[in-house]
């Protein structure tokens, strides 16, 4: 409860400037927006550009509990932006059906912790529809958005990171943005991608992250990781809100003479193995960090793949700094989280292996 200092500064303004960052999105300026406003803009553009797109979920009509859907119902009407009853399984199933008829269904699950009743629909229906019908039918127009991740006081059911469950399902895509500018471009790509996509939004950053976001319609390609900080000694891979923590650890490591390369994976399934491989072949060391519990987390997949591809180039075992193997705790959150200091320790141990 007390030790939230590590997360107290989350303004991401500095991520888009200097530090040798190589950016794939043009750095043209736009308006200064936070994450929920950027997502809101993306949704406005999506609904505007395709008359057969719909946004629905619990409480989206008035703007949603995180204000991501503000103004949509007023602008596009209650026939395209509407509330559903409290039934996740029904909501996603309904979305799959809509998408199967060629519409774009943008479904909101209020918290990622509540996505499990819909898990059967996503895994057994959405992911396999195209495959089992021999390409006669598909639900590519389906995009499921859910806020995920720790928020400081969320407890067991408002803080979970379930991305690993979905990364295990061929047939869907899993995308996680790290900042407002990324979120807008990635969400538009997800909506327009001809495959069903699960889009996890880091709820911690809804208000905390502020960035210049271009006002026009732009997309950021899926399955392309980005090196957001170049370095030579160790590669760090992460996604979503965790990248800010990792960035802080990188800055501290730099003071001790360790040059860190930081990669934002962006799309977890299918993930950009080539970028990470190229980076690890350069640095020889890999550290992965995510909030979800370490056992079976997505870091394990990255670790195993990189081991296969870069075995002889590795100078040290792959390090994973992740959440602990417990349910997401209430009062113990500061102990559970993969904090900057834990990452820094791991960087140093890996470099000095």
């Amino acid at each position: 409860m007390a030790a939230l200092l590590g997360r107290s500064c989350r303004k991401l303004g500095f991520l888009s400037s200097g530090h040798g960052a190589r950016r794939t999105v043009s750095t043209e300026t736009g308006k200064s927006l936070n994450l929920y406003a950027a997502i809101n803009q993306a949704l406005h553009i999506a609904l505007d550009s395709d008359p057969r797109s719909y946004v629905f979920g619990e409480d989206v009509g008035f703007g949603g509990v995180f204000r991501c859907t503000t103004g949509l119902a007023e602008r596009f009407g209650k026939n395209r932006v509407f509330n559903t009853p409290l039934c996740e399984q029904g909501i996603v199933g309904f979305g799959i059906g809509l998408a199967a008829m060629g519409n774009r269904a943008i479904v909101e699950i209020q918290f990622a912790d509540y996505i499990y009743p819909a898990f059967d629909q996503i895994v057994n229906e959405a992911a396999k529809f195209r495959y089992r019908s021999g390409n006669q039918f598909n639900c590519g127009g389906l995009t499921i958005r859910a806020p995920y991740g720790a928020v400081g006081h969320g407890g067991h059911y408002h803080s979970q990171s379930p991305e690993a469950f979905f990364c295990h399902v061929p047939g869907i895509k899993v995308v996680i943005p790290r900042s407002p500018r990324e979120a807008k471009g990635l969400l538009l790509s997800c909506i327009r991608d001809p495959n069903p996509v699960v889009f996890f939004e880091p709820k911690w950053l809804y208000r905390q992250a502020v960035e210049e976001v271009p006002e026009h319609d732009y997309t950021i390609p899926l399955s392309e990781a980005e090196v957001i900080r170049e370095g030579n000694d160790i590669t760090l891979v992460g996604w979503g809100a965790q990248l800010t923590i990792m960035e802080q650890a990188c800055l501290e490591a730099e003071k001790e003479g360790i040059s860190c390369e930081l990669i934002d994976l962006k799309t977890l399934l299918p993930w950009d193995k080539e970028t990470v491989e190229a980076s690890v072949k350069k640095t020889g060391r890999l550290l992965i960090s995510h909030e979800a519990p370490i056992t079976g987390g997505f870091g394990a997949e990255i670790s195993a793949t990189i081991l296969e591809r870069c075995f002889l180039k590795l100078e040290a075992p792959v390090s994973r700094v992740c959440g602990l193997d417990t349910p997401f705790p209430l009062v113990f959150e500061p102990f559970y989280m993969p904090t900057k200091n834990k990452i820094l320790d791991a960087i140093k141990t890996t470099v000095n292996y």
Binding site: L86, C87, G90, P117, G154, Y157, R320, L324, V331, F332
Partner: protein, 389 residues
């Protein structure tokens, strides 16, 4: 249940116990018959009578415990605003009659399982204020050892199965408990509480079908406070007659702001469930606070509506009027009782504030059964097997 203490009254009515100590414990069980405010509406069954058997002790008990619950919830509101309670806090004020009436009709062998609005139900099941406030503030003395928080209160010795964060998930659990009760021939029933929002969850209907098929002593209680978070019931449900939703399962609609109606209905339901199988109770109730402390509660309903309900249907006011009209206490005595309650709550809060937080090692306990262990990966990748007690 809390015993009420009254100062001696001077209205001359002979009481069968001494007033030598200037206060006496009301053990008067002379029956009083109360009429419920409204008749019951029934679906596929005969509604119970509107006349409820009670006693002056019970009436005073109702008043005291409901006032305690109300005070506790208001205190939790202030603690949350003072950031002593973190996380989520869903308050029950306005709905106290459901908790009280239900307790009056059943025993501690009957099980209750509910969602996250569980502070008052826990109190009704025999929990102490100290346990409540400690758990809310995440301290060791809390009923779940500080690891559960507001949404996860449990009390095994009173068959209170919690305290659930995921909406609707507790209902199939409740039916499972009922199955066990039937299997073990316990002659007890299970009350599975849920809200009007949860009534649209698919798993409810699955549980209902199984309960009806196997004649389980399960009583599904819909605490209909008319708003699922911010969504009014008519926006979420094609049929807001939740007591009829069971279709082939009988149902009863009850005025949830009248503790005696609730008591009568629960008694009726228990008898029905033991004999014939599941039944649905719809409690027509209201919450004054928003959905949780993060919700002001006024963006989707008017202040007039809230104050209107408070004036006309408040459960504590109703009991107060009954107490006064039956001459069981004077206004002043009730006010004194309320002052005592306030002090009791303040004391419990102070005691809870002094209580320590759980030990950091508790982060790893009870993930699995004792002895199975869990591993914590240190930053230097050496696996640290946490030594679990």
């Amino acid at each position: 249940m809390a015993l009420s203490r009254l100062s001696s009254r001077s209205n001359g009515i002979a009481r069968p116990f001494s007033a030598a100590f200037n206060r006496f414990i009301s053990t008067d069980t002379t029956p009083i018959t109360i009429e419920t405010s409204l008749p019951f509406t029934a679906h596929l069954c005969d509604p119970p009578s509107r006349s409820v058997e009670s006693s002056s002790q019970e009436l005073l008990d109702f008043f005291r415990t409901m006032a305690l619950m109300r005070r506790m919830e208001i205190a939790a509101d202030s603690l949350y605003k003072a950031k002593l309670i973190r996380g989520f806090c869903h308050l029950y004020d306005g709905q106290e009659a459901v908790a009280i009436g239900m307790e009056a009709a059943i025993t501690k062998k009957d099980a209750i399982i509910t969602a996250y609005r569980d502070h008052c139900i826990f109190l009704g099941r025999g929990g102490s204020l100290h346990e409540v406030f400690s758990e809310l503030m995440g301290r060791q003395a809390g009923c779940s050892k500080g690891k559960g928080g507001s949404m996860h209160f449990y009390k095994k010795d009173s068959s209170f199965y919690g305290g659930h964060g995921i909406v609707g998930a507790q209902v199939p659990l409740g039916c499972g408990i009922a199955f066990a009760q039937k299997y073990n021939k316990e002659e007890a029933v299970t009350f599975a509480l849920y809200g009007d929002g949860a009534a649209n969850q698919g798993q409810l209907f699955e549980a209902l079908n199984i309960s009806a098929l196997w004649d389980l002593p399960a009583i599904l209680v819909c605490e209909n406070n008319h708003y699922g978070m911010g969504t009014a019931e008519w926006r979420a449900a094609k049929s807001p007659s939740y007591y009829k939703r069971g279709d082939y399962v009988p149902g009863l609609k009850v005025d949830g702001m009248d503790a005696f109606a609730v008591k009568q209905a629960c008694k009726f339901a228990k008898d029905h469930a033991l004999e014939k199988g599941p039944i649905i109770l719809e409690m027509d109730t209201y919450r004054y606070h928003g959905h949780s402390m993060s919700d002001p509660g006024s963006t989707y309903r008017t202040r007039d509506e809230i104050s209107g309900v408070r004036q006309e249907r408040d459960p504590i006011e109703r009991i107060k009027k009954l107490v006064l009209s039956h001459d069981l206490a004077t206004e002043k005595e009730l006010k004194d009782m309320e002052k005592e309650i306030r002090k009791e709550v303040d004391d419990a809060i102070a005691k809870a504030k002094d209580c320590p937080m759980p030990e950091p090692s508790e982060l790893f306990t009870n993930v699995y059964v004792k002895g199975f262990g869990t591993e914590s990966f240190g930053p230097d990748r050496k696996e640290v097997k946490a030594a679990l007690p």
